[in-house]
């Protein structure tokens, strides 16, 4: 016989012990005899007891299964009750924070004015950004082990400029996000997104200008100053030429001054003017470079203002949601406790019923399996039969 620990039926060998197929011997009474003896000799009582026991046994099993089912139902119900309730926080400027079930997301290209999902939080193993998404969007990664961790901006690509680096967000290539259960979404209003994009783009522009070789700008500024000075210097030269012509000195050449002292002085002054202009251009170029960097920083910071403002607005909304969630959880707990109490009572009643039936059955069987020695007679085959059953049941 195969061992089946979950099979609570009577073992076949046990049941088959008194129902051998072999022909009765003369010494052995026939089955009917035996059966009659059994029935009239107290067997019916024993069977009744057995039936009760079996019924109690089965009831107990049913109670357990029912309890399990009720518990599961309760858990399921509580799971539903305690489940996160999606909510949305909308700022006065139109930004929204949404907490809800996850969904496959395909961010729209970050075109100015286009809606954008902003930061998405996964509810899987922990809070995490999609690295790809996070890398290119925010430059910060939040993983489940370290929590929120800011990481530096990814290295600037060698080839394209920083502006190109920023401009890639305006491209059409959009990473596809895999659905990962619960997710939270923050979405700026179109105006804010447009503002953010403009600020972001301008920041890139400024940073791009900030890293341009200052000598280029210096030459540009110097050229502008030179252009501005050129008419004045030309007028000075012409004026001097006229004065020298009036003085008959146009043809003067001296070893000391080259031309006339006035010409030397004027050329010197103009050269100094241009030298000063070059110095000013250099200073201006570097100052502008610093200003570009500062503006880039300011614009970059300003590009996060909508998000920061949205996050600021998120706190009170989250507090209200947390309170609602807490109340929900509390209600769920009460519901669970109450339901569990009912289940306990139900299970207790079942157990009591089963115990009662078991006790009754036990009592009926106890007579059936009473020992002959203890009854003053001899043990016959019948008694042996039920004893075996009894022993089998009781484990004796």
């Amino acid at each position: 016989m195969d061992e089946d620990e979950y099979n609570i039926g009577i073992p076949s060998d046990v049941l088959g012990a008194g129902a051998s197929t072999d022909a009765p011997t003369p010494e052995d009474p026939g089955f009917m005899d035996l059966f009659g003896d059994f029935l009239f000799g107290g067997g019916a009582q024993g069977l009744a007891g057995l039936g009760l026991l079996t019924g109690a046994y089965n009831r107990l099993g049913g109670i357990g299964e029912r309890g399990l089912g009720l518990g599961q139902n309760l858990a399921t119900q509580q799971m539903q009750q305690a489940a996160f309730r999606p909510y949305t926080i909308t700022t006065p400027t139109g930004a929204m924070f949404t907490a809800g079930p996850s969904r496959p997301m395909t961010p729209e290209p970050m075109t100015p004015g286009a809606p954008n999902d902003g930061i998405f939080i996964d509810d899987g193993p922990g809070f995490t950004f999609d690295p790809m998404f996070a890398d290119i969007r925010q430059g910060a990664v939040i993983d489940d082990t370290t929590g929120f961790t800011s990481e530096p901006l990814p290295q600037r690509p060698d080839g394209p400029s920083l502006r190109d680096f920023f401009n890639q967000f305006n491209g059409t290539a959009a990473p596809t996000l895999q659905p990962q259960g619960q997710q939270f979404g923050m979405q700026l209003s179109p105006m804010e997104q447009a503002f953010q994009q403009r600020m972001f783009g301008d920041a890139g522009t400024f940073f791009g200008q900030g890293i341009v070789d200052p000598s280029v700008r210096e030459e540009q500024i110097y050229g502008q100053i030179e252009t501005a000075l050129d008419p004045q210097q030309r007028a000075q030269r012409l004026g001097l030429e006229e004065r020298l012509a009036a003085q008959g000195r146009l043809g003067v050449k001296t070893s000391q001054f080259g031309g006339t002292p006035e010409q030397l002085a004027m050329e010197k002054a103009q050269a100094q003017q241009l030298a000063q202009a070059r110095l000013s251009a250099a200073q201006q170029a570097r100052q502008e470079q610093m200003q570009q960097a500062q503006l880039g920083q300011q614009y970059l910071g300003a590009s996060y203002i909508p998000q920061a403002q949205m996050l600021s607005a998120l706190a009170p909304g989250q507090t209200a949601a947390a309170q609602a969630q807490q109340a929900q959880l509390y209600g769920t707990g009460l519901f669970g406790e109450a339901t569990a109490s009912g289940i306990d009572a139900l299970l207790g009643a079942g157990l009591g019923q089963a115990n009662l039936m078991g006790a009754a059955g036990t009592g009926l069987l106890s007579g059936l399996f009473a020992s002959p020695e203890s009854a003053g007679g001899t043990e016959d085959n019948r008694s042996g039969f039920f004893r075996n059953i009894y022993d089998y049941i009781t484990g004796g």
Partner: protein
């Protein structure tokens, strides 16, 4: 009834020099039609010029050529050396001419100009590297060989040079006749460093184009003479900042060597005659006056006919500016003491001049260059050869050109001309056939008061001791009426007793004299003792004359005409001659 003689007195005839420009009839009798070999003497009379006396005794270096330029070089120590050029050589000396031409320096032209500057004398000629002489080097050297000199290629090979305002200025180089170069301050050989420089005035010429001929410095100005225009710069002391002060169009300079500074003016020969810048101190303009209005046509003709070169000199001692047209052997003598009413100088003419160079020395001596070498302008003969003095008056009308004049007497008054033969000439009606009468001037040795009166004492003559008369009312009264004393040779001073130290610093020498204030006696030392001068015996005594020899003659004249020209000629041979006046006596006849 006899007609009264009309007297016409020509006082100081030709006092105003030659005038060939105005009509003879309308001329002032003070002008002269001809005044040859004449000057205007110190009393304003027409007189014979001086001659020249050749100094040079050895002119082997010069050969048969003539001196083209003479220059006295005086260094800072006061040493003097005479340089001249001629026969393609740089020459020094006066009596014996010495070739100073640097070795390996070939000269083919003698158109040099020499200037003194900062202890050196510089020689400039177009196309030639300038030469320099200084007493420290004692040799004429090429400029580029001097210490601190610019390279030979950087030194202007100019034809005109001027030393002024602490620099050398030069101009007129080959292929560039519009640029004036100036040297570094006080360094005549440095033309590329320091404060040297140049100015191209090609854009300054008032007529658009001209060529620099000469340079002059005057009154803080740099005067640049072009051929047909003049440009004047002010502030030339700092040439880098000097500026145009004035320009004159239409008047230029004919030749570099006609420009002379008189101290108060700059005289130069233009194409229309002699001109000068009037000195302007207050005025900013630069008026130009013509100094040869009376001979304009003559001088223009000479300018145009000149084929050789010009020479000029200004002599304050002689009070004249000489302008010589060498090729035509004609010299005009402009008296610079004053000008006529029209602003021109009184001018006389020296025909047959062989003068080819002039130089006025620091002491006023005037050197003249000829084929004979160096000569001195002095005496009254051209190196022993007589020359003819001529005077001819303009045509005289005696106040009425329409009436006949019958000349009766000519009474000239001459001064000087000792023993000279004088020819008086006269002609009528513009005729050229002169009637001549002659006379010989008397002989007189002049003695001059208070100049050099040399009484001769027999006791002193053997010692060669001379004496000088000093007029003194407290002195000794001499037989000739003068009162004073004679300083004999070396006057030692006034003493109360015989001095013991002579004029030589040692013992008393013969001729040393002193005035004894204690005895009021003038002593002279003779042969070991002091002798009272009044005890000596004057062997001779010069008599004071009445002045210069004056001759006044009365010469008969004949003929008649409406106009009369009177002339005087005399060969000058050792004595001066001045024409004081000519008095003409004539009858005025009928009207023709």
């Amino acid at each position: 009834m006899a007609q009264e003689l009309r007297s016409i007195n020509l006082v100081a005839p030709a006092f105003k020099g030659i005038n060939t420009e105005d009509s003879p009839l309308a001329q002032d009798p003070s002008f002269a039609e001809i005044a040859d070999n004449a000057i205007i003497d110190k009393r304003g009379r027409i007189a014979a010029r001086k001659g020249y006396d050749v100094i040079t005794t050895n002119k082997t270096v010069l050969g048969t050529e003539t001196l083209r330029a003479i220059r006295e070089f005086r260094d800072n120590a006061g040493n003097s050396k005479i340089f001249s050029v001629g026969n393609n050589k740089i020459i020094s000396g006066t009596t014996t001419l010495v070739d100073e031409t640097p070795g390996s320096y070939t000269i083919t032209t003698d158109n040099w100009k020499m200037v003194d500057f900062n202890d050196s004398i510089y020689f400039f000629q177009r196309g030639y590297e300038p030469l320099v002489y200084s007493n420290s080097s004692s040799a004429v050297q090429k400029m580029s060989t001097l210490a601190g000199a610019s390279g030979a290629s950087d030194i202007p090979k100019a034809n005109e040079v001027l030393a002024a305002y602490g620099r050398l200025w030069c101009a007129d180089v080959t292929n560039n006749k519009s640029t004036v170069y100036w040297s570094d301050l006080l360094i005549g050989q440095n033309w590329t460093g320091g404060t040297s420089g140049s100015i191209d005035i090609s854009k300054v010429w008032p007529d658009g184009y001209d060529e620099i001929v000469s340079l002059a410095a005057h009154n803080g100005l740099l005067i640049i003479f072009g051929q047909h225009s003049i440009v004047v710069y002010q502030g030339a002391e700092a040439p880098a900042t000097m500026s145009l002060a004035d320009t004159v169009a239409g008047v230029g300079c004919v030749d570099r060597d006609t420009v002379q500074q008189t101290g108060v003016d700059v005289i130069f020969l233009s194409h229309t005659g002699l001109r000068s810048f009037g000195r302007t101190i207050q005025e900013k303009s630069m008026p130009i006056s013509t100094l040869s209005r009376t001979i304009t046509k003559d001088i223009i003709s000479l300018i145009q006919g000149e084929t050789q070169f010009f020479r000029s000199i200004y002599s304050p001692e002689e009070n004249f500016y000489l302008l010589t047209f060498v090729g035509q052997q004609t010299t005009f003598c402009f008296d610079v003491r004053g000008t006529l009413e029209d602003g021109s100088f009184r001018v006389t003419r020296w025909p047959g001049s062989i003068f080819t160079a002039y130089e006025r020395l620091t002491d006023g001596t005037l050197y003249v260059g000829t084929t004979n070498g160096v000569s001195e302008y002095k005496g009254y003969s051209d190196n022993g050869v007589r020359y003819r003095f001529k005077y001819f008056s303009p045509s005289l009308t005696f106040g009425d050109a329409s009436r006949l004049k019958i000349l009766k007497k000519i009474k000239p008054t001459l001064v000087g001309a000792n023993s000279a033969t004088v020819f008086m000439k006269f002609a009528y009606d513009f005729g050229t056939s002169y009637r001549t009468t002659e006379f010989t001037v008397g002989n007189q040795q002049p003695a001059f008061f208070n100049v050099s009166e040399y009484p001769t004492y027999s006791e002193l003559s053997s010692y060669g001791i001379s004496s000088t008369f000093v007029e003194d009312i407290n002195g000794v009264s001499f037989v000739n009426g003068t009162t004073g004393y004679y300083e004999v040779d070396q006057f030692l001073g006034e003493f109360t007793s015989h001095p013991t130290t002579g004029s030589g610093g040692g013992s008393v020498l013969n001729g040393d004299s002193y005035f004894n204030t204690a005895e009021d006696i003038y002593y002279v030392y003779i042969e070991g003792s002091f002798v009272d001068l009044t005890t000596l015996t004057p062997t001779s005594f010069s008599e004071f004359t009445g002045g210069e020899l004056t001759n006044q003659r009365s010469l008969n004249a004949v003929g008649s005409g409406t106009t009369v020209v009177v002339g005087l000629e005399s060969d000058i041979n050792g004595f001066a001659l001045s024409l004081q006046e000519i008095n003409l006596l004539a009858l005025i006849g009928k009207t023709l």
